[in-house]
Symmetry: C3
Subunit: 211 residues, 3 copies
Amino acid sequence: MTILELLDYAGVAVFAATGALSASRKQLDVIGFLFLAAATGIGGGTFRDLVLGAGPVFWVAKPTYLIVCVAVGLVVFFTAHLFESRYRLLLWFDALGMAAYSVMGAAKGLAATGSPAVAITTGVMTASVGGILRDVLAGEPTILLRPEIYVTAALTGASVFTVAGLAGVPLAAASAAGFVAAFLVRGGALRFGWRIPVYRPRPGRHPDDVM
Amino acid sequence: MTILELLDYAGVAVFAATGALSASRKQLDVIGFLFLAAATGIGGGTFRDLVLGAGPVFWVAKPTYLIVCVAVGLVVFFTAHLFESRYRLLLWFDALGMAAYSVMGAAKGLAATGSPAVAITTGVMTASVGGILRDVLAGEPTILLRPEIYVTAALTGASVFTVAGLAGVPLAAASAAGFVAAFLVRGGALRFGWRIPVYRPRPGRHPDDVM
Amino acid sequence: MTILELLDYAGVAVFAATGALSASRKQLDVIGFLFLAAATGIGGGTFRDLVLGAGPVFWVAKPTYLIVCVAVGLVVFFTAHLFESRYRLLLWFDALGMAAYSVMGAAKGLAATGSPAVAITTGVMTASVGGILRDVLAGEPTILLRPEIYVTAALTGASVFTVAGLAGVPLAAASAAGFVAAFLVRGGALRFGWRIPVYRPRPGRHPDDVM
């Protein structure tokens, strides 16, 4: 198993865990756990494969990924109540999945097109789609709108991988560097509340007050 | 017309009806009815065809499906006010569409890959996507989060079809069995409030209270 | 550059601007601006290319579109605070993007299938997907649910283009006519509050009151 395959399975498994934790927070039944685990686990990669137009998506070609989602969903169903804060656990697993997928998405985009702009875009979008899908399905505010750094971390991972890859760094090293970079940025945001300073004029008003 | 084609048209038509009923609940204009009817009617099948990577999606290949959605949208526009509870009507039509699509999705997935895991997944996801899309577009809480059995019913239908199909049962009988099984489970949930017993520790707190 | 290519870049650029304005209303950081600009700018065209099944989507084939989104996102980041009402600006840019994409979506659908029903559907859906995606990502009520005419304007543009194209009108003239028609209808709705008279029985109750 190459490092990219390992990252892919790891990304699917930890995103699946966040989907199942979200199901736990919403008190769904076991099938709801499996559904959210699968949708979150394979959502990002499905988006990546669709836009790259490479025929059937990865889990249709290799159903083992589905088994991983089901297994993770079951484990979370029986253990989620043991954790003090399922939401914080969800955030940390999500950080791992985001880091893995930012590299995987960039790697597949780079291999398919050779374009760094496409590679960084598929990296960022692949890393974000799973979590956004989970939040929309579970009716939570999407992670995009929270103040801590998220998309920036995915952008960091995808960029580090892409630049390293184009510079001739071996694939395994470029992948590891991208993964670590993305996880450090997101982890710092979660642990220390890092934020990008924003020029912040004023919040938007409600549409009805504007019209 | 084979039983699978019949299920496909039936699935599109009743999902289109639920989209139009949702438009009625939101007091949209007639074009809003047609839009939600089409999006809900073809949403699940579009997802199914995309992930299976079989070229243009079904309604691009055969536009009759679009005519069905428009016709259903118009009928609902002129008759929806006659019903005491449009929401209950929506739920029952949705149950029919979910049952039809759980079989259709599994059938296409099984034919394309031969994998039961893929077939059951495309069955469940195809059956759920139309309704989820409708609820997100209309700004309603998604049907996933309601306490009655939903995904479980789709899982039942897809599994019955897949197991029967692999066991050599003729396609028409396997399809009918899957459809009836899914509809009975969902119908029982709607009529008698069936729920899967859940081990239910505590609800999730709001993200802001956790961080 | 043909008029269709021009419309395509214009559609991407103005939709990207609406995504960035939405990020401004939500006080996101600069990377959040770029993310919402890209997702909104390329969302509609991505959907169009996926359902038509034509291999990799347009921005994978030609990454210049991504550069446009990034440039627009940066410009909006530094200028959005200058405007009295970012939401009204967003609505007018959205109207331009919707008009451009109603024609582009119909043109690609017509070229791929020859079917007017498919062309009108891909026109309407392509024109709506970008804005819906933006609203869902930003947690705003989708533009679909607001009382002013929206989908109808997209339908007008797609229909004018399709009918003119099938009647043998040259492509440039048919495109211009469709664009102007869609923009006039939506502009009239924004400026004068045009609405389609609806037969409006009663609003939907909350699901919990119905069950």
